[in-house]
Amino acid sequence: MPSGYPMIATPQNRETSVADPLLKSFERLEKSRGEESPSWVFPVRKAGLARFAETGFPTLRDEDWLYTNVAPIANLPFQPILDFAPRDVASGSVDQLPLGKLGGVRLVFVNGSFVSDLSVLPQKNSRLRVENLKTALIKEPNLLEMHFAKSARVDDNPFTALNTAFFQDGAFVHATPDSTLEEPIVLFFISTATGLGNTSHPRNLILAENGSRLTVLECYAQIGEPTGFTNAVTEVVVGESAAVEYCKFQDESPEAFHVASIHAHLGARCNFTAHSVATGARLSRNNIRVKMDGEASDCVLNGLYLTKGDQLCDHHMIVEHAKPHCTSHEYFNGIMDGRSRGVFHGRILVRPEAQKTDAKQTNKNLLLSDGATANTKPQLEIYADDVKCTHGATIGQLNDDSIFYLRARGIGLETARRMLIHAFAGEIVERIQCAAARKELDDLIWDRLEQNPHVAERR
């Protein structure tokens, strides 16, 4: 093993061989990149690698990973997808994907690599810059250095560290001060790779400067039946009085693994709304981190997860109130079927300075089968005395009173059940402000639920 590189620990054996492919990949990547990247990138990557070497993959002993066993990911052969990965996707096929009907600016990444032929960039002299991260690093090294890996700290979680070491490409979205973009920007991350352990590390940076307004949609989808691992990181910097709506739709193949970490940094009087809608992947984990670092800001996090079969979907939120007069609301609904599991873990951290914090958290779970599981863990950590923090969680089946009420008006049992299940999902979807995205996700979720044999089943 070359000196200067740390050992990588794994949950099975802290001295094992995962280190070698990781290090080899890292060295190979380093060589292949050469002089293109600005010089500050390599130390950042190395810090990511060092951090991951220290922690290894998390285990069930780790409090933040109590319900989610990532051993299936840790056990994969480590195969980062490099630039030579296939990226041949027919141009029409992107339009067939979820959110594919939306026009306007879009960036398309196939197995982690940017495909410019499939992408639509904004017009020149626009006050909005949207390009792939690799290009942006060359053109704007100083601007990126100010923000890159600042919100997404490598010590937040091992997957963010791993992404920081190995990120290939991703989107850079930059809204200049006071600019407004009505149309959403859509980022597609398409997996086609079928090799076991094939891993892509998309890395996005969204920079909304003071007073700007924009909407960014991320869609993680598949073409074919890929079995790979996606480990994405998105950093969002929301400037003073800016408004950002961010919506992530994860619809990967039921054999795929998916981890995504969203790290948002909020300035004063801004508004950040994030939605995470998850239907795909065998195992998925969303780390959502929001640091409210300016006064009087408003943050809303919404989540909807539908799982069936042996799927596991985990959402892990940390909302940090660092300044006074901020509000944060979290609304997460899960619908679980088969032997699947949905996990919600929401921590609200209120710093001593953050007086007049108003934080609210709601997680509702609907179990459609006897084998399905929901884990919900609210966590309040409050160091200020003048705050309002509430949380509530429910796990259950459809409400008998509601079913009876509908039936007593002539609506049949099956229809009543379907109405209530769709309504449960709709509670979250209707919170999406971007009308085009809401409409498309509403249709998609409706179709997914209708495909579920238990939705209209007579008990």
Partner: protein
Amino acid sequence: MSIERLIRNPFMLEIRNLHAGVEGRAILKGVNLIIRPGEVHAVMGPNGSGKSTLAQILAGREGYDVSEGEVLYGEKNLLEMDPEERAREGVFLAFQYPVEIPGVNSTYFLKAALNEIRKHKGLAELDAVEFLALVKQKMKLLDLGEDLLKRPVNEGFSGGEKKRNEIFQMAVLEPKLAILDETDSGLDIDALKIVSNGVNRLKRPDNAQLLITHYQRLLNYIVPDHVHVLFDGRIVRSGGRQLALELEEKGYDWIIREEPQFA
């Protein structure tokens, strides 16, 4: 309804010796009641007498065990029908506690309900335009704002709005037999007048209403043809409107004392 049919089967609802309970506890202990088209009946009684249980069983709520007796609705055995079948056949329960259903839009819900009933009657389903025209007309009857239709069913409604919404649904669905379970509870006098006025205007020679109430107050506004006193799971006295006034004056104790089995 033809004269012949009226002669052959003049009863809209016939409850015969109904015994029912929950988890081994008897609540109804032999209820007999006959309702004919065009009639308004009031069932009164103190708390715990079984009034709401009777309403729930008639609407088809699960969880009650019927151990004896039967309920005929026209020529059909009501207790064998699913709740939705009863509704489609014209039975309507105005709930004592209308259920809030987040995420289900009021218009969508009521249109689905009406079209199920119309389908059952062999009538064409109403499209969105036809439905809205009907609804606007019926809303005036209950003095309800149109914004209510855009909201989820009963969600965030005040107590009065919920009760008015029940009667509004009744106006749209036009049932043959409407059962109003404590519709007066929680209403102030103005809301009570609006609700009662709505109910009275829905009265027709071919439909009937069964009012379940604790207090006489409602009967100042909806005048019943028959008043029944339910006590300990049995109808212990029936009479005309005068009976309700006597109850108002003397309370329930007076009747209970006069009943041989309780004396």
